[in-house]
């Protein structure tokens, strides 16, 4: 049984989409069933190792309206804009690994901009601890149930979320000041 079929068997109804690019299988699941689905993948599917966890800001990707080329009857190509609301802005990708079969699986969850919250998976893998903090630091996505949801790389007083696409590469001129209270 191929990896795709096995994963589909385990996830059943929770599976929203399954794609493959260059041999890397990626499944999409919804926010509500995240922890449950990952738990089943860990226990039944054998994906017992969390390599990494990362956030992606898709706003640039959706800023350009997707154009679909459609052939009309007289043979000329006409561009048609795709309709419907744009998908949620952020997504979080979990990179799983099965230690027994050495297969890798990407699990992605979409997070809308107006409700930046996800359940934490630190109860399943402790290795999710810092990556979740980093995702909060860089994108502002909060993980509920995380033991220490603080900034990781930037200093605590830093206001913005640097890896968002609307944040400039060279920053907004923030500087860090420490108030030493020398007695």
């Amino acid at each position: 049984m191929s990896l795709k079929e096995r994963v589909a068997n385990i996830l059943k109804n929770d599976l929203l989409e399954i794609t493959e690019s260059k041999g890397d299988v990626c499944v999409e699941i919804s926010r509500q069933t995240l922890v449950n689905a990952l738990k089943r993948l860990k226990e039944e599917g054998g994906f017992d190792f969390l390599s990494d966890l990362l956030g992606i800001d898709n706003s640039d990707l959706y800023a350009k309206p997707k154009k679909k080329k459609k052939k009309t009857e007289d043979g000329t190509e006409q561009e048609q804009e795709e309709k419907g609301p744009p998908p949620p802005r952020f997504e979080v990708v979990y990179l799983l690994l099965s230690l027994s079969t050495n297969e890798r699986l990407q699990v992605r969850v979409r997070v809308p901009e107006d409700d930046l919250e996800l359940p934490s998976v630190t109860s399943l893998w402790r290795s999710a601890n810092w990556p979740e903090r980093e995702t909060f630091d860089m994108f502002g996505i909060r993980f509920n149930g995380h033991p220490n949801m603080r900034r990781l790389l930037m200093w605590d007083e830093f206001q913005d979320y640097p890896l968002r696409k609307d944040y400039p590469l060279e920053g907004k001129g923030e500087e860090r000041h420490l108030n030493y209270n020398i007695a």
């Binding site: 260059k22 041999g23 230690l99 590469l169 108030n179 007695a183």
Partner: protein, 383 residues
């Protein structure tokens, strides 16, 4: 609370919080390797908790990657793990090649293997040397550094840089092995072994060394896997996992080598695993060099790739075994000439986050031993 500790610790040193003493170590502390910082809570000399604070070398590499083209990002990868830059280069090149769907000619693969194993030896030499320095054994460091200079000499002949190598390109390597390598390698093999032997004689059975390392920070394999350990750290805990064997890339499935593994996961085991791995690396280079000799001299080195790379849209993750463990690159492409998102999975990031668990209940001086044995490189830790 955290802010409070920060200001208090820097200014007035140890301050009592309850029954325990909060002690700040770093970021500028001789044993903290430049930019690492740990806020410890101690009861006498015993550590109750140790909270690492990172980000003092966060240079925005991932954001920079989104604003550079695929080829331009290659030199930036040197500055991740600067002790073994070649491994980063090859990891990134291989990730982009996977995205493009191209395969590199065998000669280029062998050159990459030889150079990567040399880089692995150099990295382990630094790690073992610094571990010795931090524990008070300065002499092995001098032996190993001299050996490392010889390896740097080969790097310089091949691609002109000592430390930040930027070796190869997407699609292969630019230059063949330098002519001088052929005379140098047989001599160097012996000198690497000799430097290792000298270090081994000075340290391994040394009474002081054993007192400081055996049984310090012992860690079990299951915990290590749960924390996301990879590389020598995981193997020291007794889990035989090496991406070169488990998910072979390049031509590693055609060479014969062993995976050294420890038992207890203590500092001594980590040291031993690194020492034995250097031996295995020499073995791998010998075999790869023999395979290289069999190839015709005019065998291609580069796959023809366009000057401006525009990989098809998609996302991939590719990992290799760097000296510290699994070094992975996640790249999402949107079809343009710049990556849409690059995420680096640094091996020591996962190891260092378990620091609290590792040193809990140990003495403060063991914290230094533990940190050195983790081989935390700030460049790839903070990115």
């Amino acid at each position: 609370m955290a802010k409070e500790i920060e200001t208090v610790c820097i200014t007035t040193g140890p301050t009592e919080v309850g029954d325990y003493v909060t002690l700040n170590i770093g970021p500028i502390h001789p044993a903290m390797h430049g930019t690492l910082r740990v806020i410890t809570k101690t009861d006498g000399e015993t550590i109750i908790s140790a909270k690492p604070e990172i980000g003092y070398l966060h240079r925005g590499v991932e954001k920079l990657g989104e604003n550079l083209t695929y080829s331009q990002f290659l030199p930036i990868t040197d500055r991740l793990n600067y002790c073994s830059a070649i491994c980063n280069n090859v990891a990134y090149e291989m990730a982009v090649e996977k995205l493009l769907g191209i395969e590199v000619p065998p000669k280029a693969q062998l050159i990459r293997m030889i150079m990567m194993e040399l880089a692995r030896i150099a990295d382990h030499e630094v790690c073992v040397g610094i571990l010795g320095v931090d524990l008070g054994a300065l002499t092995p460091f001098f032996y190993l550094i001299i050996q490392r200079e010889e390896i740097y000499e080969i790097f310089e002949w091949h691609h002109g840089a000592r430390l930040t190598n930027s070796m190869g390109a997407i699609g292969g390597v630019e230059a063949d092995l330098p002519d001088r390598f052929h005379e140098k390698w047989p001599r160097m093999r012996d000198s690497i072994r000799k430097a290792n032997d000298d270090t081994d004689k000075l340290l391994t059975h040394n009474r002081i060394w054993m007192d400081r390392t055996v049984g310090v920070n012992a860690f079990c394999g299951d915990d290590a896997l749960n924390w996301g350990f990879t590389g020598p750290m995981l193997r020291a805990c007794g889990v035989k996992r090496d991406l070169r064997k488990n998910e072979p890339y390049l031509l590693y499935d055609k060479v014969d080598f062993d995976i050294p593994a420890g038992k207890h996961g203590d500092v001594f085991d980590r040291y031993m695993v690194r020492m034995l791995e250097m031996e295995q690396s020499v073995k791998i280079i010998d075999q790869a060099y023999a395979m290289y000799k069999e190839l015709p001299e005019d065998a291609p080195l580069m796959k023809k790739v366009p000057k401006i790379l525009r990989p098809p849209a998609g996302q991939i993750y590719h990992a290799i075994e760097s000296p510290n463990g699994e070094l992975g690159f996640f790249i999402r492409s949107d079809g343009s000439d710049k990556p849409y998102r690059i995420k680096i999975r640094p091996p020591c990031y996962m190891v260092y986050q378990a620091f609290d668990d590792l040193v809990k209940g140990e003495m403060i001086s063991d914290l230094i031993a533990c940190l050195s044995s983790l081989n935390v490189i700030a460049g790839e830790l903070d990115r």
